[in-house]
Structure formats: C-alpha cells, structure tokens
Symmetry: C2
Subunit: 325 residues, 2 copies
C-alpha cells in the first residue's frame, strides 16, 4: 500500500518509522505546511508542500493525517477525504459526532473511505471497551492511563511564568488498579485513580514556590489530583525525560451466572516506550483496512469499531486461522 | 434475537444464563440428544428432542451448538448450518481448516451464516493476537493460561486406576509472566511457562504413590511440567474445587522506532470464576453479530476475525461512538 504522511511532527515521524516495520507499506512522500527545504527526514522520503498533495491523486492509497485535534484535523480531514482514503487520530471526544458527520459527507462525495479517531485511546482502548461490554453486559468499566507523559499537562505547566521547561507524568494509583484487578468495583475519584508527577526547569531567578503553587492549584489539570513537583536542571531534563513513554489499562469487571454469582475480569493494557511511534503503528495497520474496505466499495466515515480484525493484517484468511485462531 | 441451545452440558447451561444477561436475547428452547423428560432447566426454558430442531426453522435466529470438539461438533455444526445460523466453540486447532471447509459448504448451501471456534481461546485470545501482531509486526507472542481448571488434564488423571476423582489446575509460572511483562523476550520451555497442580481423591485401598508416579510421568500431559499432587477427601473436593475458574494472558512484545530502539508491550488478560459461563457470554455476543451479518447477506463460515467489533454490541453506531470511542 502506498502511504502519504500529512504533517511531520512527532506523530508524522512515528508513521515514517512505522512504515519501515510493515513490509507491504511504501512511503510515497511527506506533505507539510512548512517550507520543505527546512525538513530533513529520517528515511530520506521526499517532502512536498501541502498544496502539492492533490496532484498525487491515484498515486497514493491512504493519506495518514498527523495534525492536532484542536484546529488542524477538523479542517484537514474533511478537506483531504474528498480525494483520498484517509486515517486520522482525532481525539476531542465531545466533537467526534460533528467531525464524523463532516468527514462522512466528504468521503462519500469522492467515493473514499475515511477512518477517524484511530490510535490507542481513542483506538485500541475503545476496541477493548466494546469487546468487554459486549461480552459482559453487567459490569463496571475502568480506564487507567500511564505511567506516561501527558503533552497537555506538560504544556499547561510551560505556560506558567518562570517555567523554562516541564514534563508531566500521569501515574495510575497502584492500590486502585489492584483493587479493580481483584474484581472489586470501587467508586474512584480522579485523585484515587491517578497522581501527577511534574519535573520543572525554572528560569533563572524564578520563584520556585510560586511556580509550585501555580501548578498544584491549577483548576482541572492538577487541583483534583495529588501532584508532586520536582525542580531539575535543563541537563537532567534532557538526560532523564527525553522520551514520550505512555500506556495504561482498560479493565471491565462483570458478573455472570444465573444469579450473577460469578465474576469475570477482562483487562487490556499497554506499556509503550514511545507513544507517538506506537500510535503511528496503529494508524498504519488501520490504513491497510481502510484501503481494503475502499476496494470493496465501503465508503464514507468509519471508526475502529467498523473494522474486522482480519482486515488489519497483511496475512490471508487461511494464514490467520492457522496462526492466530 | 431468538436463540436456541443445542446440547445441555456445562456450556449449554452457561448459554442459558448468558441469555439472561442480554436483554435483546430470548431463549426459544434447549435441544438435547437425551430424553427431555430427564432434564430440568435453570430458566424453565422448554426442552426438546434434538430431532425436533428442524421444525423450528424460521422461529430461531441463531443456534448455539454446545458440543465437544472431538466427535460432536465436526458432525453437528455442518448438519445444523444448512438450516440455521449457528455459533460453535470448535477448539481442535489442527482440524480447524477441515471444519471450516465443511461448515462453509453447509452454510452457503442454505444461505446461512456460521461462526466457528468462538469463545476465549480460540476466541478473544485469538482476537488479541491478531490486533497485537497487526500493530507490532516485529515482536514475540506469549500465551499463559490459568490459574484454571483444565478439563482435559483432570480427565486424564481420572482414567488412572485407583483415582476416584481429580481436579487439575494449570498455573502460569509467575516469574516467567513477569519477565515477559517487563519486555524481555525469554525463550520458555513448557516447564518454564506453566506448572500443574493436581488434587486427587484416591479410591479406598489405592496405592497413592503409584497414582502420583502415574500422574507426574504421564507423557505430554504432565512429564514436561513441574507437577504437584495432593490427595484430598471427596468432601474437600466438593467444598474447595467445585468451580471451573480459568483465565490467562496473551502478551506481545514488539519493537518500534527507526532503529527498533523502542519497545511496546500489549497484554490482554482474563480472570474468570466460571470458564463455561464466560465462554457462553462470548458465544451470545457473537450470535448477535452472526444474525446481523446474515441479514446483510454475508453467508458461509466465518471466524471471530471476520466480525467488526460494532456488530457485537446491542448499541447503535452513534451510541458506541459516544460511549466507548
């Protein structure tokens, strides 16, 4: 399959590396709104101005759109889906219905297939929730994120005056995770589910106490959580907090039996050294399914819920049954 | 959806209770090769002789066939699939291609949809393997089963002279599970993956040492494992080992990044008080998908790999996107 990347940030770079791991995928090019001359790619793939994309109609099977959910994807995905099969990672939950509607109209108008909100959450975690809820109709759902870097929380700290750099780790509260795993169904507050670890480089002469207070009292982001703040040097930040690890668990505890006398626990969990690289691998697997669905005439906007697992794999149905069933 | 159960052993009873947990499912009847007069059902559902099934054509949406894989299902599933949509839990791995072929011909001849090899392994574990392999093309797969009762191993012990009753638990070796979870890729022997705990009621006057030796040296079943044997009374068996718990984990460790420098771990795990009840819940969720696929004209033999997650849920596409995505 011929893949194009639209947007060359962390996720776009992740897709570039994900293509290398999929022998049936070929990277046609990277499309950017920046000056292509300023970009050096890891793979040596050609870089084009975003406006050139439309000239590649017919030469690209799927465009993987790597933009932000706040302002990029609401415009980009419907725009590109009229001419190309696309996959995006739109993750603003409240706006999914609106995004779905717009992308659906665009993709149907061009006979294309568009998969939105792909990745691991939304994405693989959403899939885990639907399987678990379908199999255990009576039960309780839990999602724990981390330990991992939250870009949104790190950015929020960086906006505080006197902060030169910051990294925030979301950490699940282990006692709560274990209680859920034991099949208990605790009602958990935000504080009981996650704690927040912040590493901050203060600007020269900045008031550290003031920064710390500004962090731990920040509404919504931090005030509902147990938050620890540690000041480190720029060198320590670079050496110890350079990666973007993440992960988490989706757990459903359900009851079964004639009198709901038995318990079942289903858990799906991820531990990732690199959040954007893993997200990108999910996008590429679903790009394969999007292309297949498009060839079958299944057009319009889809989500991960509409994709049969077999369509994600390069293997044939016979191979899948003999190796994985 | 109108469900019929064919076969009323542990799994059939599980389906009966699973129907109760699914408000869109209705149990039309239980079909048995035994004398219906001898059977009292937990739900009060009517019991019919197996031969009566064909008279219910049009009144049943999906027949869930609850028989053994060795001799029952290879005959029953192709036989029933000509007249009814069916789901079975065929689990003799080596014979899946042959079973698939026969069921496919039968289902296609009657315009029916048949899903084979459903449950949790094969079933949900198979699905976990295909997602993990599609997302992480370069990696290693591990499956650990247990702690749980293995019927096959329990039966093997019961066939030893002097054994009145037996229960065998398959137990994953925790150190190995933890090593895999840490992202190491150990090469593990059978002994390093699982150990076997046996609880045995000896017949009066039986030679316990001889029984123990017969167990731990039994080829394939026990000789490749660390096996412990404990003799207990019939009362202890009934009190402490009456259930059929099971579970396990499917783990894939993969590498990603431009130089495979990062690791990702995907784990799917189950902890089940009742193996047959949980298996039955999976069968009922997939029965829903089978009926929908049949109504769309998707006929023939299918596996869990061919079913999009959305088709498992009673919720609408809009509801699924807003609740689970």
């Amino acid at each position: 399959m011929k893949i194009a990347i639209y947007g060359y940030g962390n996720l776009g770079k992740g897709v570039e590396s994900a293509v290398k791991h999929n022998s049936d995928a070929e990277l046609i090019g990277i499309f950017t709104r920046r000056d292509p001359q300023t970009i050096t790619t890891a793979s040596g793939a050609p870089v084009y101005r975003a406006e050139k994309l439309v000239g590649f109609k017919g030469a690209i099977d799927v465009v993987i759109i790597c933009g932000g959910s706040a302002t990029d994807l609401p415009v980009l995905t419907p725009g590109i889906a009229t001419d190309f099969n696309v996959v995006d990672s739109f993750d603003t939950h409240a706006k999914i219905p609106e995004h779905f509607e717009k992308v659906d109209i665009a993709a149907l108008s061009g006979g294309k297939t568009a998969l939105i909100s792909c990745g691991w959450d939304p994405g693989l975690f959403s899939i885990a929730r639907i399987y678990a809820n379908s199999v255990l109709p009576n039960g309780s759902d839990y999602t724990f994120w981390g330990k991992g870097v939250s870009q949104g929380h790190s950015d929020a700290i960086r906006r505080i005056p006197g902060v030169a750099d910051a990294r925030q780790y979301t950490v699940p509260v282990e006692e709560s995770v274990e209680a859920v795993r034991r099949g208990e169904n605790p009602v958990l507050t935000a504080r009981q589910k996650h704690r927040r670890e912040c590493y901050v480089v203060a600007a020269d002469g900045a008031d550290r106490n003031k920064i710390k207070e500004a962090i731990i009292n920040m509404p919504y982001y931090f005030d509902e959580y147990d938050t620890c703040v540690e000041f480190i040097t720029a060198e320590e930040m670079k050496r110890n907090h350079n990666g973007l690890p993440h992960g988490g668990s989706v757990i459903r505890n359900g009851v079964n039996g004639n009198n709901a006398e038995h318990k079942s626990t289903i858990e799906f969990s991820l531990k990732l050294d690199s959040n954007p690289e893993f997200t990108a691998l999910v996008l590429v697997a679903f790009a394969r399914a999007v292309l297949r669905m498009n060839r079958r005439g299944i057009n319009g906007c889809k989500t991960v819920f509409d994709v049969a697992p077999a369509d994600l794999s390069p293997l044939t149905a016979d191979q899948l049954r003999s190796r994985f069933l």
